[in-house]
Symmetry: C2
């Protein structure tokens, strides 16, 4: 399950990363053609199944990734097992903590995903040489900081109903296919994961979902597929 396993960089075939050449991803967009070529020689595109741990909490990291497809959750767990999701990342986000060897959180694929994996040492060097890349990662860090703080407000001050509505709004906003007002999307998270993101139990999440359904705010096609007839209505509940 460990993406960092040595065969990735040593025994694996370092295939060119076509997506990166196409300038997807936070990292590749900021590089020169020469750098991109070098990065491609040492990077590898990987498909990972839902639930795969990409980075372990407390472990040394030897690589960074770009998310090319799918959703990755960032998790913190306490010694007694209590758990909190502290961020959701979507393509084309960057995963990894520049400059610091040890990760204070775990990153896990929430859905099946494709990621583009770079050796840490190489990317650290490129960051140091490329102000534009530094800037690009700085931007992402600030974006994540805003998201984290917005979520602190949700965790600290919103009711269970508002929390669930906020989560649905967040997912809907990041899901691609949207019509004018109505939106349909797949939830990348189970009820348990939603609970861990919102600081609630499974049961409370479930109850709030059915309350929203009974009020006509959402349709639950199945537990993972949601339709929102009117996004404004959902946003209103968010507060």
């Amino acid at each position: 399950m460990d993406i960092a396993s040595s065969q990735v960089f040593e025994a694996g075939t370092p295939a060119a990363c076509r997506s990166c050449q196409a300038r997807h991803g936070v990292v590749c967009g900021a590089l020169s053609n020469g750098q991109l070529k070098e990065l491609n020689r040492h990077s590898l595109r990987r498909k990972v199944g839902a639930g795969t741990e990409i980075i372990a909490q407390g472990a040394e990291t030897s690589f960074y990734s770009n998310i090319m497809r799918g959703v990755v959750k960032l998790c913190k767990v306490m010694p007694d097992g209590r758990q909190q999701i502290v961020g959701l990342q979507f393509a084309p986000d960057f995963v990894g903590r520049p400059f610091v060897r040890e990760s204070t959180l775990s990153a896990e694929a929430a859905t099946d995903a494709e990621i583009c994996v770079f050796p840490r040492s190489l990317l650290d060097r490129m960051i140091a040489e490329t102000p534009e890349l530094q800037r690009s990662l700085h931007d992402q860090a600030l974006k994540e900081l805003d998201a984290a703080r917005e979520w602190m407000l949700t965790l600290g001050r919103r009711t269970a109903e508002e929390k669930v509505a906020s989560l649905l709004h967040l997912i809907a906003t990041h899901a691609e296919p949207q019509t004018a007002t109505s939106t349909a999307f797949d939830l990348p998270l189970s009820r348990a994961e939603i609970g861990d993101f919102l600081g609630l139990t499974i049961e409370t999440v479930s109850r709030q979902m059915t309350r929203l359904r009974k009020r006509g705010v959402i349709l639950i096609e199945n537990s993972r597929h949601i339709v929102v007839p009117d996004m404004d209505e959902l946003e209103r509940i968010t507060s």
Copy 2:
């Protein structure tokens, strides 16, 4: 009360910022002598009283600051008045959101403080020209991100008692004068502010403080001055 008032930069006397020359602060440590001189010509050291709003939520910001002394709280408030503190900043932290015109949160002096104020346009230019400054601000953003995520765990998954212990631990860690195991410090926050940081009410904060006192974990010399006989004991409660 508005620090950004025009007289600061137009009518005020732009005194040299001695602290910055001494390389305090996140910004000044990363600049060349020439840049520092230019920055000094346009920056101003200001004393602000506790409660002064430095940046208003939703307002355009025309300046950044370095905290030279005191504590600054970062706040988000909801339309209905519910409020969440999303960060505490101590000297020599940087205050302001690079690259973005409008602030999504307010910054307010929690204690009497001294800050070093720079015009936004000038510092933005220096960031663009100075990779080391970019790096320095990037580092701070990552540090704040780690802190925000750690606090998300506290908000989502810790009990009231653990929350209060976590806050005391946080403050104790950032307060300067510490003996080997025992620590004494001033709380920079009122009970109401602590509640807004922890997602609790004033009453619950107060009750948990007296519980910790009765158990001998802390001494409350007065409501703002705390002694922790054994930091390990406090840390244990934090979980």
